[in-house]
C-alpha cells in the first residue's frame, strides 16, 4: 500500500525531520501535491508553484502529467497570449479558403481533460486570469468574438509558475483563490528530486474510488472550525480542504477520511492562505469564539465534540507551524532574490495597443496576433483583385464566388493604448511626527484613488522606519485594500531613508517592466540616520541615501519630493536635486495638497 511520506506527524523513520523549507521536504510536499491533484484535477483547480525556470519544475510537471489519465493535453500559456488564442475565435485562413466561418478552438478549450501551464504567472493580466477563472467556473469557454458565438466544453487544471521577485508580484488573486495548492519549489535542488511512493495505477484507482469516500461529521466540523480559528474564512478554501482530505484518503486506499487526511489537507490548503494578523482591521479579523463551534448541534454527544476539538487543535498547530517556517524562509529568500534583480526588460513607454484605447486606423496584420479585424478595410484591400482571383483560384469551383479575400488582405484595427500609472508613495514613518505624517499620506492615497476611478491609476505605499522599509500597500486601485492595509500603521524609530528609496527604486523598476508608468512621491525631511545595512550612523546613512537616489534617478521616472521639515532643509533640497525631483516644502504635509500636486504632475507628464 502506498504511504504519503509528507505526513507532518513527525513519525518518519530514519532520523530527524527536515525543516519545512528544506529542499527535500519541499520536493516531497510537491510530489504529494502532484498525486492529490492528479486524483481530482478539476475539483482541486490546480496548483501555484513558486519557482524559477529550471529542471526541477520541469520534472515536477512531467511527474504530474504522468499521473493524469492519458491522454492529458498539456497546454502552455504564453505570457502574451491574446484573448483570441486563449478563448478561440474565428479561424480566418480556414474561413477564407472554405468560404464560410470556421471557428478555431482556443488554448483553454484545447486543454480539456488536461492542464494549462502558465509560466511567469505573476505577470498575468487580471483580464486573462478572469477569462481562465470563468472557464473553470463554468466548465466551458464562451466565445463572443469577431462574429463567432459559441461555447466549448472544457475542464482543466491550472499549473501556475510564480516567478515573482518582489512581494507585490503575485499571480492574480482571483485565480489563486480558485486553485487548492500553493507550494514552493524554490529551495529544491536537482539532487533532492526523487520518485515518490505512488504511481499512475494507484492514482487512477484513487480517482475511481473518490466519489464513494465519506467524510465523518466530526472531521468535517474540525476542518471547518480550524479554518475559522486560523482566520481563513474563504468558503473555497474550506471546500478545497474537504476535497483534498478525500483525495488523500483515496490515495491511501481508505473508504473514509481520517484525521491524518484532514491534517494533510489543511496543512496544504490553509497554511499558504494563513496570514499572521500583523496589520488587520478588527472587524475583519474576528474569528468567532470557540464556544460557537458546538452551538446549534445538540445531537452530538460530548465525547464526539471533544474529539472534534482535539482534531481541530492538531490541525491548527500543524498549519501554524508550517506557515511560520515558510514566513521565516521567505524573508531570507526575498533578500537573495532582490540582490539578483537586473535592470533589463522593456520600458514603460506608451504602447500601441491592438485591442484597447483610441482607434488609430488600421493596418495590415494578422488577426491571430490579437488584433481586431477591420472588415471594411479588409474588403477594400481585397476589392481590386477580385477579377483576377475569380479567374484563377476558384476557377474550378462550381460555386459562384462573389468575393475572394486572401490572408494578405486582412487589416486589423490599431488603437492607441494609454499606459496605466502607478504612484508610489515613500513615507518617512520614523520619529515623533510619524503618526501625523502617515495619516496625511494615507489621506493623500485615498484622495488620489477616489479621484482615479476613471483614469485607472494604481497607488502603492512604502513606509520606512526602524531598520528598514516595508511595502505596506502593493500597487492597487482598490479603496477597500487601502483601508485594510493602512488600517493600523506602526511608526517611530530611526530613519532608514536609503532603504525607503531603495524599495521605491525596486518597485518602480518592477512596475516599469510591467509596462506601467511609475511616479515616486517622497514625504521626508531628507535626514536619514540608518544606513542600507540597518546600522545607525548619520554620515554613512546620508551617503547611502545619495547613492540610492542616483539609482532611483536612473530609472527615469517622475519624482516628487515633499520636504516635511519645519523649514526647507538644504539636505532635502540636495537629495531632491540628486533625484532630479520636483521639490516642494510642505511643513504640515496635508493630504489635499499632496494629492493635488501629484495629480498635476501626472497630468503634466
Amino acid at each position: 500500500m502506498a504511504s504519503v511520506t509528507a505526513h507532518p506527524s513527525g513519525e518518519e523513520e530514519g532520523g530527524a525531520r527536515e525543516p519545512a523549507d528544506s529542499g527535500k521536504e519541499q520536493w516531497r510536499n510537491a510530489y504529494v501535491v502532484a498525486g492529490l491533484l492528479a486524483v481530482d484535477p478539476i475539483g482541486l483547480g490546480g496548483v501555484c508553484i513558486r519557482s524559477g525556470p529550471g529542471p526541477v519544475r520541469d520534472w515536477w510537471t512531467d511527474q504530474f502529467f504522468a499521473l493524469l489519465p492519458a491522454p492529458a493535453p498539456r497546454r502552455k500559456l504564453p505570457i502574451g497570449a491574446s484573448e483570441e488564442r486563449l478563448l478561440g475565435g474565428l479561424d480566418l485562413s480556414m474561413t477564407l479558403s472554405t468560404g464560410q466561418p470556421v471557428a478555431e478552438r482556443g488554448l483553454l478549450a484545447d486543454a480539456d481533460g488536461g492542464a494549462i501551464i502558465a509560466a511567469m504567472a505573476e505577470r498575468m493580466t487580471p483580464a486573462t486570469a478572469a477569462n481562465i477563472a470563468a472557464a473553470m467556473d463554468q466548465g466551458s469557454v464562451i466565445i463572443e468574438r469577431n462574429g463567432v458565438s459559441r461555447r466549448d466544453e472544457t475542464r482543466f487544471a491550472c499549473v501556475l509558475f510564480d516567478e515573482g521577485v518582489a512581494a507585490s508580484e503575485r499571480p492574480p488573486q482571483l485565480l489563486l483563490d480558485r486553485i487548492a495548492f500553493h507550494i514552493d519549489l524554490d529551495n529544491v535542488s536537482i539532487r533532492d528530486v526523487a520518485a515518490g511512493d505512488f504511481d499512475a495505477a494507484i492514482v487512477s484507482k484513487a480517482r475511481e474510488s473518490l466519489s464513494s469516500i465519506e467524510t465523518p461529521a466530526e472531521i468535517a466540523k474540525a476542518i471547518n472550525a480550524a479554518s475559522l480559528s486560523l482566520g481563513v474564512v474563504s468558503m473555497r478554501a474550506l471546500l478545497f480542504c474537504m476535497s483534498v482530505a478525500r483525495a488523500s484518503a483515496a490515495i491511501q486506499g481508505r473508504d473514509a477520511v481520517i484525521d491524518a487526511d484532514a491534517e494533510l489537507a489543511c496543512r496544504l490548503v490553509l497554511a499558504p492562505r494563513f496570514a499572521p494578523p500583523l496589520v488587520m482591521e478588527p472587524e475583519q479579523s474576528a474569528p468567532p469564539p470557540k464556544q460557537q463551534n458546538d452551538a446549534g448541534d445538540d445531537k452530538e454527544s460530548k465525547e464526539e465534540s471533544l474529539e472534534t476539538d482535539e482534531i481541530e487543535d492538531m490541525i491548527v498547530n500543524a498549519v501554524r507551524g508550517v506557515a511560520m517556517t515558510s514566513l521565516l524562509g521567505k524573508s531570507s529568500r526575498s533578500v537573495r532574490r532582490n540582490a539578483s534583480v537586473g535592470s533589463g526588460g522593456k520600458s514603460g513607454a506608451p504602447v500601441e495597443s491592438k485591442l484597447k484605447g483610441r482607434p488609430l486606423g488600421s493596418r495590415k496584420g494578422n488577426v491571430r496576433d490579437g488584433g481586431r479585424l477591420d472588415v471594411i478595410a479588409t474588403l477594400r484591400t481585397a476589392a481590386p483583385w477580385q477579377k483576377l482571383r475569380s479567374q484563377s483560384a476558384f476557377a474550378g469551383c462550381d460555386r459562384q464566388v462573389r468575393l475572394s479575400v486572401y490572408p494578405e488582405d486582412i487589416n486589423i484595427k490599431r488603437f492607441k493604448g494609454r499606459t496605466e500609472s502607478v504612484v508610489i508613495f515613500v513615507v518617512d514613518a520614523s520619529g515623533s511626527s510619524a503618526m501625523h505624517r502617515m495619516a496625511e499620506a494615507k489621506g493623500a492615497v485615498e484622495l488620489l484613488l477616489a479621484d482615479c476611478y476613471t483614469r485607472r491609476d494604481h497607488v502603492a505605499l512604502i513606509a520606512f522606519r526602524g531598520q528598514g522599509a516595508d511595502l505596506l500597500l502593493p500597487p492597487t486601485r482598490s479603496l477597500a485594500r487601502v483601508r485594510r492595509a493602512l488600517g493600523a500603521l506602526p511608526g517611530g524609530g530611526g530613519t532608514p531613508l536609503a532603504a525607503g528609496l531603495a524599495a521605491a527604486a525596486t518597485l518602480a523598476e518592477t512596475e516599469k517592466r510591467k509596462g506601467k508608468t511609475p511616479y515616486v512621491v517622497i514625504l521626508s525631511d531628507g535626514r536619514g540616520n540608518i544606513g542600507l545595512n540597518g546600522e545607525p550612523g548619520r554620515a554613512a546613512a546620508e551617503e547611502d541615501a545619495v547613492m540610492t537616489a542616483r539609482r532611483l534617478r536612473e530609472i527615469n521616472c517622475t519624482t516628487l519630493f515633499f520636504d516635511i521639515s519645519n523649514r526647507p532643509s538644504p539636505r532635502a533640497q540636495r537629495l531632491s536635486n540628486e533625484l532630479r525631483a520636483f521639490y516642494q516644502p510642505l511643513p504640515y504635509a496635508d493630504s489635499a495638497a499632496v494629492s493635488k500636486t501629484v495629480k498635476a504632475a501626472i497630468a503634466a507628464a
Binding site: 467556473d137 464562451i142 463567432v148 466519489s211 471547518n224 475559522l228 474550506l238 471546500l239
Partner: protein
C-alpha cells in the same frame, strides 16, 4: 451541466432577495453583487436564470419582441404584424453572459461575417444586447470589464435602445435588460457612472457561522456527487419560488404605497444625502416589489427597512477619508428615520 438550485443556496439572503426583487420589477435596474470571493455570487445568479418564469415572445424574433406591446416592435415584427403572420411562443427569459473577453462587435451586433464573406451581402447580426432584451445581462468580474464596453453598456442601459452605426450599417433595436454584475472590490473599484446604473447593490460576505458553513459543504458535496438527484430534490422548492415571482409580477401594479411610507422614504434619502431622485425611486420600487413577493396589498415600513440597504448603499456621496462602511451608514439612518 446541471445548475445548482436557487432554493438550495445556504444563507446569502440579501443577494437572493435582491435578485428576486429585480426579477419581479425589471425597472429597478438590476443588481450588483460585490464582495468576498467564493461566496456563490455567480452560483446564485445562474440559479435564478434556471427558475425565471417563461415570457411571451414573438416566435423566431431575434429581439424577443413582446406581442403585448406592438408599439415597441422591431422592424421585422412590425412587418409581420401588418401582414398578420405574427406567431407567438412562450420562452424562458434570456439570461445572457457577457464574457470579459467579448469584443464590441459581438456585444452591440455587427456585420454578419458569413454573409459578408460568402455572399458579399451587408446584413446585421444582432449581438448580446439584442439577445438580452427583456431578460438579464450578467457580467462576472464586472470591475474588470474593458472601459469601452462599459461605455457601450452605460449608453444602452440609459436609453433602452441599441443604436449601431458601424461598418456601413445603421440599425437600432430595443435593448432593455436587467443588468446583473458581480465582482470583488479588491480587483478595483467600479466606475461611479456604472455603479449608479445598478438599482440594487448587495455586499456579499463569507459566512463565519460554523453550522451555516457546514451546510454549504454538505449541499455542495451532495450536488457534486449526483447533480441530477440533487436538482430533483430541490425542484419543488424552486418551483415555489418561480410561482412566487409570477404571482408578484401579477399583483405588483395593484399594490398601494401609503403617503406615510413615501414620506419616510424621502426622509431616509435626505438623511443619507443619497444623490438625486434615482435613489428614492429605486427605494420605492424595490419596496413595492418586496411587498408583492410577500403577498401584501400595500407597502409598509418593514419592506422599506428590508430594501433600504441594497437600494441606497452605493448612492451615498463618498468622503474618501470617512472609513465608515456605507452599509453601516444606511443601517444607522434607517434606525434614525424609521425608529
Amino acid at each position: 451541466m446541471s445548475i445548482f438550485p436557487f432554493s438550495a443556496i445556504v444563507g446569502q439572503d440579501d443577494l437572493k432577495r435582491a435578485l428576486l426583487v429585480s426579477a419581479v420589477d425589471p425597472n429597478i435596474g438590476g443588481v450588483l453583487a460585490f464582495g468576498d470571493r467564493g461566496t456563490g455570487k455567480s452560483t446564485a445568479i445562474r440559479a435564478l436564470a434556471a427558475l425565471l418564469p417563461k415570457i411571451e415572445v414573438v416566435k423566431d424574433c431575434a429581439y424577443h419582441c413582446d406581442p403585448g406591446a406592438p408599439d415597441k416592435f422591431c422592424d421585422n415584427c412590425r412587418l409581420a404584424a401588418k401582414s398578420g403572420t405574427l406567431k407567438i411562443s412562450h420562452e424562458s427569459a434570456p439570461v445572457v453572459d457577457l464574457p470579459l473577453g467579448a469584443t464590441e462587435d459581438r456585444v452591440v451586433g455587427a456585420l454578419d461575417l458569413e454573409r459578408a464573406l460568402v455572399q458579399g451581402e451587408k446584413r446585421f447580426e444582432p449581438g448580446l444586447l439584442a439577445r438580452a432584451h427583456r431578460g438579464f445581462l450578467y457580467i462576472d468580474e464586472v470591475n474588470l470589464l474593458d472601459d469601452h464596453l462599459v461605455d457601450v453598456l452605460l449608453d444602452v442601459a440609459a436609453s433602452g435602445e441599441n443604436v449601431v452605426e458601424r461598418e456601413g450599417l445603421s440599425v437600432r433595436h430595443p435593448a432593455r435588460f436587467v443588468l446583473v454584475g458581480s465582482g470583488n472590490p479588491e480587483e478595483g473599484e467600479l466606475r461611479p457612472q456604472l455603479l449608479d446604473r445598478f438599482g440594487l447593490s448587495v455586499d456579499v460576505r463569507t459566512p463565519t457561522d460554523i453550522s451555516e458553513r457546514m451546510e454549504v459543504v454538505r449541499r455542495r458535496d451532495s450536488f457534486e456527487r449526483d447533480p441530477e438527484a440533487f436538482v430533483k430534490k430541490w425542484k419543488r422548492k424552486d418551483s415555489a419560488v418561480r410561482k412566487k415571482i409570477e404571482r408578484a409580477r401579477e399583483n405588483i401594479e395593484a399594490i398601494e404605497t401609503p403617503d406615510a411610507v413615501l414620506e419616510k422614504a424621502a426622509g431616509l434619502c435626505i438623511t443619507l444625502g443619497a444623490d438625486g431622485l434615482r435613489g428614492e425611486l429605486t427605494l420605492m420600487r424595490a419596496a413595492r416589489a418586496c411587498a408583492a413577493l410577500e403577498g401584501r396589498k400595500e407597502v409598509t415600513l418593514k419592506e422599506l427597512q428590508i430594501v433600504a440597504g441594497s437600494a441606497l448603499r452605493h448612492r451615498l456621496r463618498k468622503d474618501p477619508l470617512d472609513e465608515t462602511d456605507s452599509g453601516t451608514r444606511v443601517v444607522r439612518a434607517v434606525e434614525e428615520v424609521l425608529g
